[in-house]
Each structure stands twice: as C-alpha cells, then as structure tokens.
Chain length 187, copies 2
C-alpha cells in the first residue's frame, strides 16, 4: 500500500551555489498538518556506483582518498554522469578511468537515495561483468589502488577501518543477492 503524498503548497529557492541549490517546500499532509521542509538539490546529471566482477565471486574495489572524511576509503568505483551520457555509458567510462577495465555487460540493479529526507541525490547501482583491460585517463591525482575482494567474504570487509560508505556497502550486498539469484530488479 502506498500512502498518498502530502500536497506541495509552495517551493522557494533559498540558496544557490555552484554545487547545490537549497529549497524550502511547504507541505500539507493528508491529516491537515502543515510543515515547511528544506532540502538540497544536487546539480548535474546523477551518479553511478559500479560493482565490477572479475569472476563470479571477485569484485574489484578501489582505495581512494576521500576529502569529505579526510582519509582513504576502500569501496566501489563511482562517479558522476556527464551530459548526454546514459547510465551504462557513464559506468563504463568511470570503470576505464578508475580501475582500467571496460565491461561488455552492464546491468542496473537499483537506484539508491543518499539522504532522502534532505537531499534529492540518486545513484544508480550498476553490475559490470565480462571485463576487459582498457584504460581512460581520468582526473585522479594519483593512480587508484585496485583491491580484489570476495563477495562471499563481505563480512570481513566490514571490519576494514577504511570501509565506511553506506551506498557502497548496500550496493555490494544487493549485487550478492542478485548473483545468488535471490533478487531480480523489476524492469
């Protein structure tokens, strides 16, 4: 059962910078309660996070410096889509830039929100299989270290101090459910 969404009475742009727009939204809930909520809208064309499989159980992770938390992060390769790029094209390009592989088979498994209460941002989770070596030059300041991990050993990955990103952990478990045949996304 899906609940009836509140009525949107008004929207106001309250702040705009190069990367973000902050909006105020006046809502009326189905019980008559009114609230003004704020949310951040990201600019750009969306994001992709890839689950690149070297074989049926080996996923390729990257170790990359993450400025937001000021430490190296071990997780799935990801990036932002360029203008006029499909999700599959963006995923394939980012893989070539970050791990030095293209993928002959790309499959969208899910679309994840980041912080659904406060942000509009969405990230497509793309399973990448049938990999072949091909490198594209990205804008990375240093070559990313590629770290193979076993999907059957995700519980040991959780112990790594450099693993923190919720989206990346979610995407790995979603891929594992998919590859085990327990989950098929609706078309």
């Amino acid at each position: 059962m899906r609940k009836k969404s509140p009525t949107i009475l008004a929207r106001r742009l309250v702040e705009q910078s190069r990367f973000l727009k902050a909006e105020q939204i006046d809502l009326e809930f189905s019980n008559g309660e009114r609230r003004t909520h704020e949310r951040l809208r990201t600019t750009g064309f969306g994001a992709v996070i890839m689950v690149p499989m070297l074989d049926e159980d080996t996923v390729l992770l990257v170790r990359e410096y993450a400025t937001g938390i000021e430490s190296y992060e071990l997780g799935l390769p990801k990036g932002r889509l360029d203008r006029d790029e499909t999700v599959a094209q963006g995923a394939d390009r980012e893989l070539k830039e970050e791990i030095g592989y293209g993928a002959r088979e790309l499959h969208i498994l899910a679309t994840l929100s980041l912080s659904p209460t406060y942000m509009s941002a969405m990230t497509h989770v793309v399973l990448a299989r049938d990999l072949y070596p091909e490198r594209l030059q990205g804008d990375e300041p240093e070559e990313l270290e590629v770290v193979p991990w076993k999907l059957s050993e995700l519980h040991t990955l959780l112990l790594e101090p450099e693993v923190s990103e919720g989206r990346s952990i979610a995407a790995l478990f979603i891929a594992r459910e998919f590859l085990a045949g327990r989950y098929r996304p609706s078309a």
Copy 2:
C-alpha cells in the same frame, strides 16, 4: 596496509548557511600532485540509524515522507543527535519518538559515511534489542507507519518501490551479518 594521507596545505571556508559549511581544501598527494577539493561539512552532533529488533528475525521499519526525494520512504528509523546526548541515548530517544518503543539493549555496529568524497557526515548504526513500549512526542507531522519485516527476507525488501536509502539497506545487511555471528565490530 593504510596509505599515507595527502598533506593538507590550506583550508578555506567558502560558504556558510544555517545547515552547511562548504570548505575548500588544498591537498598535496604523496606523489607531489596538488589538488583543491571541496567538501560540505554538516553542522550538528552527528546522526543515528537504528535497527530495532522485535524478535531475533523481525526488524521494525518506518514509512515516512521524505521531502528530499518527494515520496514516502520505507526504511530504518533515524535521526540527529541532540547536544550532550550519547549515541545510545539519541538512538533510544528517536526510537521512542518514531516507533513507540524504547530499547534495553543498544549496540553500535558501525559508523557509516554518506558521501565520503564530498561530505563529512557520519551516521552511527545502532542495533536495538529487548524493546518495550514507550512513546515520546517527536515533531513528526503525522504518526509514522511501523512496518515489520523479516531480516531473512531482505531480498524481497529490495523490490519495494519505497525502499531507496543506501544507508538503511547497508545497516540492515550489517545487522544481519552481526546477528548471524559472522561479523563482530572491533571495540
């Protein structure tokens, strides 16, 4: 093996609003490459997301309107910590406000980043067990619908159109690994 983090040459506050601070950080990587990165710092005292277990296999989810993505979201209860509140205290308070239960047993399973490249935000994942009915009045505009789900059936949850939040999906799988005895967080 942990990589040596880049040297931070300078930090500048470039934007400040009620909710966020945007910073520029000048970095020098170990290979001598320099970059200026931008990140958002959230204000406040951090966030918690709870995995409330009614019994060994039943987790209590909430259906709540998410203004960021303009739709109802089905996921774990969560909230922001108040000043002078421990993680466990904040988790217990949010549970009483959102699902009408307190918890006699609270256990921090992990701390998740949101978007580690661009944001400083971190969320504690708290397993809540030995629940008892107790309601605190929160600031919710409508009573949240509580939806029990089986941890053993997480693959079916992924099919729900109202399930999108990466952090929530990650926290559920982490809790399942913990409860199955495959994962023990380091103290």
